[in-house]
Amino acid sequence: MKKNEIKQRLERSVNEAPMDVFARIQETPVRKMERHDEITRQRKKRRSPILSRPVALGVSMMIIMIFAVTGWYQYMVSPDSHLYFDVNPGVEIVMNRREKVIDLIGINQEGEALVNRVDYKGEELSTVQNRILEEMVEENILEGSRQVMLVSALHRDPDTSQRIAREFDQGIHRFFGDREMELVVFRQSIVRSNTLDEFGEIYNLSIGKMTFIRNLMILNSDLELEDLVERSLEELLLISMDTGLELDRIIETDDDYREFELPERPEPEAAPQQDPEPEPQPEPRPEPQPDPQPDPRITLAGLEEVLREKIGGSVIIELDYDKDDREYEITMYHEDYEYELEIDAFTGRIKEMDRDELDEDEKRLYQKFLDRLIGIGEVERLTLSRIGGGYIEEIELDEDEGRWIYEIEALYNGVEYELEIDAYTGEILKFERDDSL
């Protein structure tokens, strides 16, 4: 069944659901609420952080001067320190001089969603921190066994900044103490600047993460802002490690991230991709006999050729070999369209084709991420040279936390193999032989 058909059938079946509830909705008496409750509360709009603009700065200064007379205001209500906590949701916690939380601001969409569920007014930082972490756990934000977090504190006194960040870091470790996860918390004391504010606003990043990115760029001038702002903290760490940056110079941590088994890969932007070498040591494998029944289907390199000729260039999202119909079923992108194709596996003839125009956002995303991928011919070469021969049965392109990966199933001498290959660099990330068949 084609994707379009699935969509149409789904649409029809949902549209058929009998819905005759309007009369009841209209007639049931309701009591008007006096204020929003947990259910109807609207997502807070992102406010620009206090003191972010010269005008705001002036106004705040005046307020502070006015209230300095009475004193209490400054003590209780005016922001004294800011803490930016970046995981993937980014939140800003604003505290008064007694280090009670007076405001909680979501930096990005996930952050906004999060802060809406957390009560914070007048609470201790550690209490709010635990609530935030609990929410993150409950909402399954912390998927995966490895978490990289960034804690950035802003206070006019650098020692205070450092202390706030350190205590927050310790709080995180206490919270996750008995969990099995690799946790890296980076800490930094930051200083506010208009540039950071501005860029943070443009890219929807906290000035904490913005500071980190700027510092990375100071360490390595080849890094590009446009690329870095899209990256998760884990990816930023990966890039730093790959390019040998001395992170100690810009960031503090008590966690040994060097212990991480982060697969090495060249950073795609900075290092122009060379022909990736196949993995040096292939796994022990059955003695290379010729395949019992030689399969005359065209190679993926040949298929790539067909696609390039008939459609023009190709980013393959999915490829399946259908042995009953002896055809390749392919989903691919080219320019502004998604194509679904069925191609005769022996002649390379296109038996069926269907295409859908992408919407603007998909176009942008795909252009950005998918343009530089290695082709299926190369995937085939890497896969088969690692296995020693055989055929690819299936390829799927998948995104995992910002990393694009080809997931491959191949068959050789009746044994099934599963591989994962980095779609930018060609690095083999996973190689498994399934002996159960």
Partner: protein, 200 residues
């Protein structure tokens, strides 16, 4: 180029594709002022989408219908409090999601959803075409909640991926990769790899 001829002939469907509704945020103010026309307009524009969204969480027609009704009642009692901020549908989704969660908590089904799936008769008997019904049931059965939301909203409401990212509060790349993965899963299942319908 002849190849493209095959492309266009299967696009029209019997049902008119609903487009993502343009909702005038003033509707909420008018509903707050007890304007029956405003309520009707909002309902007409959004009930199918809201139903689809809730259904992707409840997997069950009866519950979905109840919760859609509750959502509009809640909107009636809170419409005067609505602050326009450009995302009316997101607010409606929020209310529907919160009500659905409460519903699950109350009935304590939230925790052991696996058991519930086995006992639960989703009652999609109103779907006339058996293949349509099979697709709907498979969607409910094999996809995760997020995948269902994405696939259903995209198919029914013609939501753009970006709109889903906004309304479901997920990053765009996540929506896209989940969407493709979900359709792949469904397709494989329907092609018989999981084929429970044939077996049963």
């Amino acid at each position: 180029m002849i190849l493209f001829a095959a492309v266009f002939d299967n696009s029209p469907t019997e049902y008119e594709q609903l487009n993502t509704p343009e909702i005038d945020e003033n509707l909420f103010r008018r509903i707050g002022d007890e304007d029956p026309e405003a309520l009707k307009e909002l309902y007409e524009k959004t009930h199918r989408i809201l139903y689809a969204y809730v259904l992707s969480m409840t997997k069950n027609h009866e519950d979905a219908l109840d919760l859609v009704q509750d959502t509009y009642l809640k909107i009636r009692s809170a419409a005067h409090l609505y602050e326009p901020m450009g995302k009316p549908l997101a607010w409606m989704f929020t209310i529907a999601k919160n009500l659905t969660r409460n519903h699950f908590r109350r009935t304590q089904r939230f925790t052991d959803q696996e058991d519930q799936d086995l006992e639960n008769d989703p009652k999609f008997s109103y779907v006339r075409d058996p293949e349509d019904r099979m697709v709907l049931e498979s969607t409910m059965r094999i996809l995760t909640e997020e995948e269902r939301q994405i696939v259903i909203l995209h198919s029914i409401a013609g939501f753009k991926h970006r709109e889903m990212a906004e309304n479901l509060e997920m990053p765009l790349a996540t929506v896209l990769s989940k969407y493709h993965r979900a359709l792949r899963k469904l397709r494989k299942h329907l092609e018989g790899e999981g084929g429970y319908l044939e077996k049963e």
